[in-house]
Subunit: 160 residues, 6 copies
């Protein structure tokens, strides 16, 4: 574990890290979110013959990933080479998985986290008329690869 | 409980609700998010004499609320009359509460939810060098008021 | 017919019209676009069991309408109360119809035109691997209502 | 001709193509749009001593090209190295030509198409007070170069 | 003179003011900026037969005004009813004047200040190849009207 | 000194420079702004136990730098590798210094100038309740390095 918060310089002031000298390598990150839905809401999801709320959520997540640096103050703008969001109905709700990749001097964990969050928020928006008590649970980083700090993979037990 | 998903017309196609004829009344919504942090990360938070990661998170949340309609496909653009975000260190992590208000024909639940989510994501971004396993738990609507569908207040027991 | 271009003052300089004193009434506009596709491309459209390119186009159009004032220099930012986009496979291509509405002191013709254009561009983007010669034909205003300048309805013969 | 729509994976789901491994080469694309104007409107265009509606359209097109990935869901954000838009009065209307270039792993056809479309929409906005029946005709890709899929040049006869 | 900074609550924390209950009245503000240019640069300005750098600056200022709430953290998003920017060659440089108006519960001083600043920055960008030492001097509020705090007009002597 | 304005082609038309063939080297620029404050306003600045107006200004400047190409028409979108803004209370006001860096084929002078300007505008916004006559004085380029046109450092005497 590092000794310092991210984005803090020696004077203890929040700042953006200078990545000018970092190697331009492929970086990938995967994040997950879970939207807890009651059985009644889950039953209503497939009743829409044409419009699929999970498709709306997927596109919203993909679009949001591209704007991560506008939303998260210390994130660098970068040319994403890939974003994907999957939204799947599972027991107890909708599971979202977002993947982002780039060839750059900085990682894309936040791009994946933003995509998963905005997709989850969109599922909430599409279902809130049925139940305002819906919860977004668990926005987490599943894995990252590439970059000097090494690869990371979430321990399965922590997601319980 | 309603019988239909939000944002779906009779043909089952996702769409934006027409709010032209709705009364322009004051609407307010409060959302909450919780970022679970280990004791080691919590201990590191106050070690920054100048830059306060919770202040960065507050501003990021306020700025994101204004862009809700760009992020959530079926949300209406509206003139927010108020946004605030509070970020507080509590046992086990950082508790975020976001409030949004408008005088309009549509509610601001999503503006509050987006503010809380982006503030939580920013806390994650500022602390992820210490622990990539940090979880954003519980993005929920705490309450809403104003509008035809009536007031809502989350039942305390559900936030367990 | 008026005597002057839109957005020009007496000195002949392009400017935004001052709508401060205009009545806040409901304004609506409908625009259409047509993407001409070969039979081979049209035949490929329904081969996608899950993702529907016309749904992607619909959401892109809705999202773009909200950002009209960022794209078109002399347009006023306004609180849209409704946007919808329909994309339908017809003989010879995809027909797009976009509707925008607001309660404001200025019309929403450009919002509808932008929504139709961006939906058409998205259909182009989703099909261009099959045929780069695809044409977007006919981005036109179908009708507008509300506002001092009166209602407008396109003459059917002009759309030939 | 390819066998598949763009942006669709094997499961038939719309997605962004992963361009991480693609060669960073110079890519250029040229798109055209045509705004059909009546003789009366064309005659009014040069009556503005200071503000030139075609200059407004040029700048709007250049600015829009930079935001292509925000407008078109499956487009990658990229660092454009060049954008230009020309707007010329010709017989029957205003001809727009937009050029975009980048050094990247993906093409810039959509950037050129967006620039041409938004420039055409801006001409419409500046002239619509004179004639609401103005049509944007023909938004097409004129040519592209660079990239694995080879160069493309529109056949002149198709633009008829 | 007030006793407190703007945007600070009783606990001394920066926040957005709640304007929900404020009267929706017409507010106007005028701001000015001055770009100091050497005689050599001023002489080069009119050498461009087609493109006018002051027109580019005008459009950039108008477009930026619409995005004030995205740039200035505590500003409310609002529906501007008017923006104009004038850029004039005077002795010693280019004088910029920006006007913004709205019918809302909050003023538009910052919209006028942002428009003037971005227009000045654009003049800088268009002339910096000739002289990097160009200075933007004096971004100031000239006047405001409307709203509870009363009208304001800058004292001429302060602009020295 | 060059003979031509920036961003003008041989026909005298404003355009974006094509940087496709320029070397991807590290470029850095530093800009400064000064917000002149009366003694009364300066005395009020430290009275805020929690929220620091200079921190709000810093974040606003950093966020604005990332959006330079959206604000300044002829600027290229690019992947900034570093942005920082410092805001310091000095005699007579607040001194702002903004630094931007990239590894690209074009410089980042405008990114630094935009960051300094928006930080200064935010200081104005936070203090304007105390004194509407506050002036932003001196937005200037302090230095630049990298790129073919060579390094630049402002002469100290000019900032008088």
């Amino acid at each position: 574990m590092n000794e310092k918060l991210s984005h803090y310089d020696e004077a203890g002031q929040a700042h953006m890290v200078d990545v000018s000298a970092k190697a331009q390598t492929r970086r990938e990150a995967v994040a997950a979110a879970f939207v807890e839905l009651s059985d009644a809401v889950l039953a209503a999801l497939p009743q829409n013959p044409k419009g699929n709320p999970l498709e709306v959520a997927r596109f919203a997540g993909i679009q949001a990933a591209k704007r991560t640096s506008e939303l998260i103050p210390m994130c660098h703008p970068l040319a994403l080479s890939f974003v994907d969001v999957q939204a799947t109905v599972v027991a107890g709700g909708v599971a979202i998985e977002a993947t982002a990749a780039t060839v750059a001097g900085t990682g894309v964990e936040m791009e994946a986290m933003v995509a998963a969050s905005v997709a989850a928020l969109t599922v909430y928006d599409m279902t809130k008329a049925l139940d305002k008590g819906i919860r977004i649970r668990e926005v987490v980083l599943e894995s990252k690869s590439g970059g000097k700090s090494g690869d990371y993979r979430r321990e399965p037990s922590k997601t319980a």
